[in-house]
């Protein structure tokens, strides 16, 4: 049945691809991942305004590569024996010794910069794919109840910002209708436009607050004090554990229990705390995005791709990090190819897009 996939599933998939991409500098593998993301986007994107941006991300990726290579050529192009060409070198004072502008540019340096640029661009495209595929409004709706206020603030900001811009334009137009005293500056932006706009915005927010109050916003369910206190303690403990865990994962010399186990424990604690804190909010969600088999499958594809590449790091690191000194043609191993293929599966696993959802006004 055509329907929109849960936005969180798309994000898990995309972040899985991004993790996989961050573990390699092999341009072939990276381009493989870009192709995978592109195919899935082409197969499962809607016609909504936010879903038309993949080309923009592609263009942005190319710009990133160009900047990366450009800087390398200009500032630091000399490592390696295969010098391609030599740029005129700038004479810099001794105070900035160590920085070179211009000079010889080698193939090795150029390749390293190119690989690095492609990697950053691939990461960007993975995030871009998630943005294009997942409906941001539905993502906000999937926030846990404890973070509900945050979602409301974002929603209101998104709806009122254009209104405030509009009232600014209206007042600016109206100000030109009024005769200004001669000899003075014709416009006094602060007093003439800014003050009325702020007053208008204040009126508007009061009206909105009254409307929200009358419609039941801010109702609080009675939750025993103890449960609330436990929830808060769990949340704080969870955040601490996540911090320690992240440090442990990133720092290879940290004791093993401080790594992944602490991270997992922190997430579990945090989730429990959120659940308890969310009991205070008695609200429900209209047309909640369901989490079905397809969501699990799509998310699993992303995770599997990430895990496979991490495994590949231990099995054949040469493939993931092809040497540029001397430059050698990069290759692709079976395990990495499998990761890419699994990443591609959501193009079929995700349900097709609904014609209704595909054409919102």
């Amino acid at each position: 049945m055509p329907r929109a996939l849960h936005p969180v599933a798309w994000w898990v998939w995309a972040l899985g691809l991004a993790v996989a991409a961050s573990r390699t500098t092999n341009p072939l593998i990276l381009l493989l991942f870009v192709t995978v993301a592109g195919c899935v986007v082409a197969a499962r994107r809607t016609d909504a305004p936010w879903a038309r941006g993949f080309r923009v991300y592609l263009a942005l990726g190319l710009v990133i590569i160009a900047i990366r290579v450009g800087f390398r050529v200009l500032l630091d192009g000399q490592h390696g024996r295969h010098v391609l060409f030599t740029l005129p070198e700038l004479d810099l004072p001794d105070a900035v010794a160590g920085i070179r502008i211009g000079g010889p540019v080698s193939l090795e340096g150029l390749l390293a910069a190119l690989y690095d640029g492609i990697r950053i661009a691939t990461l960007l495209l993975c995030v871009g794919a998630a943005n294009v595929l997942a409906d941001p409004k539905r993502l906000l709706k999937s926030l846990p109840a404890a973070l509900y206020e945050l979602g409301v603030a974002v929603t209101i900001a998104l709806t009122t910002a254009p209104q405030i811009i509009e009232s600014g334009q209206r007042i600016h137009r109206a100000r030109r209708l009024r005769l200004a005293p001669e000899g003075r500056r014709p416009r006094r932006p602060v007093r003439g436009v800014l003050v009325p706009v702020l007053e208008d915005a204040l009126d508007r927010s009061l009206a909105l607050a009254a409307a929200m109050d009358s419609r039941g916003y801010g109702r609080v369910a009675s939750v025993p004090r103890r449960a609330l206190r436990t929830g808060r303690a769990l949340l704080i403990g969870g955040v601490c554990a996540v911090l320690v865990g992240t440090y442990g994962v990133l720092d290879g010399t940290a004791p093993a229990p401080l790594g992944a186990p602490a991270l997992v424990a922190g997430c579990v604690l945090g989730a429990a705390g959120m659940r308890l804190a969310g009991r205070r909010v008695p609200r429900t969600v209209y047309r909640p995005a369901p989490w079905r088999a397809a969501e699990t499958a799509v998310a699993a594809c992303g995770l599997a791709a990430a895990v496979l590449v991490v495994v590949a790091e231990h099995v054949d690191a040469d493939v993931l990090f092809p040497t540029v000194q001397p430059p050698r043609w990069p290759t692709v191993s079976a395990i990495v190819a499998m990761a890419a293929l699994i990443g591609l599966l959501p193009a079929w696993l995700a349900p097709p897009v609904d014609a209704l959802e595909a054409t919102p006004a």
Binding site: A174, R178, S214, Y217, R219
Partner: protein
Amino acid sequence: MIRFERVTVTYPDAARPVLRDVDLYVAAGELCVLVGLTGAGKSTVLGAINGLVPHFTGGRLAGRVTVAGHDTRDHPPRELAGLVGVVAQDPLRGFVTDTVEAELAYGMEQLGIAPATMRKRVEETLDLLGIAELRERSIRTLSGGQQQRVAIGAVLTAHPQVLVLDEPTSALDPAAAEDVLAALTRLVHDLGMTVVVAEHRLERVIEYADRLVTIGHDGYVQSGLPADLIRAADVAPPVVRLGQLAGWNPLPLSVRDARRLAPNLHARLVDAPAPRRGRPPGAPAVSASGVVVRYGKVAAVRGVDLVLRAGEVVAIMGRNGSGKSTLLWALHGSGRRDGGRVVLADGADPSRLDPRDRTRRVALLPQSPTDLLFLASVGEECALADRAASASAGTCRRLLDELTPDIADGTHPRDLSEGQRLGLALAVQLTPAPAVLLLDEPTRGLDETAKRRLTAVLAELAAGGRVIAVATHDVEFVAGLADRVIVMALGEVVADGPTADVVLASPVYAPQVAKVLQPDPWLTVAEVATAIGPPA
């Protein structure tokens, strides 16, 4: 259903209470209409029903307000959300989400209603209000009437027992207002919902009312059957005034009632001289030909030809979005114009004039007159207007006193009532004595007294040789003031002629008196009064 017991409301820093000793009982299933002049406390009564007064607004409420047995003292507005639905004056300011469907669901989400029930109620409400085809639309792209219906739907989904509306039709064109009122009467008649509505333009709602509540300036409230109370009320629709004039008993409240009583009045009017209308038009003051205004791919005004003559009042009518405002701005010269010509009496194109020069000759009062005001007191605004126009000190103040007397110099413009603010903005714009005056929807939010005063002032200005063009939806205001009516649709002029010819030919734009006395060409109660003399 709703009970006020000796309710007195005093706002902080107010010298006297806005409501005094109000005893009011609204039974279940009633449609109750609140009337009163601006600032008399209509919004306070409405706000007290769901506890916004005083929980949200501050102030002191003495006495007791109960809704279905719930005392608002112990229940803040959010607790009453499932019981009382409130639609505020400007629906756009009360929308929390951006699409119709999400907005309809918002209130239910807050109340914690089960998703399956929510789904069902959203579908039912979409059908009930006839907005099913708008479900995916962004609310900001809807027309005023559609927005108002979405706002009503958004509170209906919570299945409240009481619906409270603050001037639901004041910003709407006649046809859109009919849609909203039709939806409301359907709720009262088919669903037995209790509805309390405040409305300035009584002619639109009084025939449906079961109970009328009038609020006097002293804060005392009277409540009773519409036919009983309307006799002594400050505000009454033309059909009631006509009934009083003709000495009809019982007083008619609707055009239908009045028409059945009309034959004897027809007989008295047979020999009366035809009403004299139309001021003698002078020389062309503004001539426009082929005016085109485009916004992107949309043409808002498509080739309008128009001549405004000195001493003439021209009303521009038409649906919301038919290009009325855009045309006014194009005539003024500060708005966009993509084609055509506009010239003033001496052949100057206002869009080419120096802005100061233009403002001296052509004044435009925008839709929200407050946008023109930005100083901290009425006195400062007047002084600035005098200085800017190099007029003698006190010119603006004198104009203001003519328009709305009794405003203290130290008052902040934001603290004025709608009518007073309009008066101040109009006085500021009139200080340089422009020959052309363009007004965009000046009667929005005005009560009958303020409207009558505005009519008199504009008529006097026209008699003094000014040319006045008014874009408006207000049929009765047009009937009482305009010499000529232009009807616009989709950016084109579809009718242009003397007021009587245009409004009598159209069921939408005909004033009540014309509907009652058709086919005789009478437009206002005043005309009939001149013909048959004062009531016996």
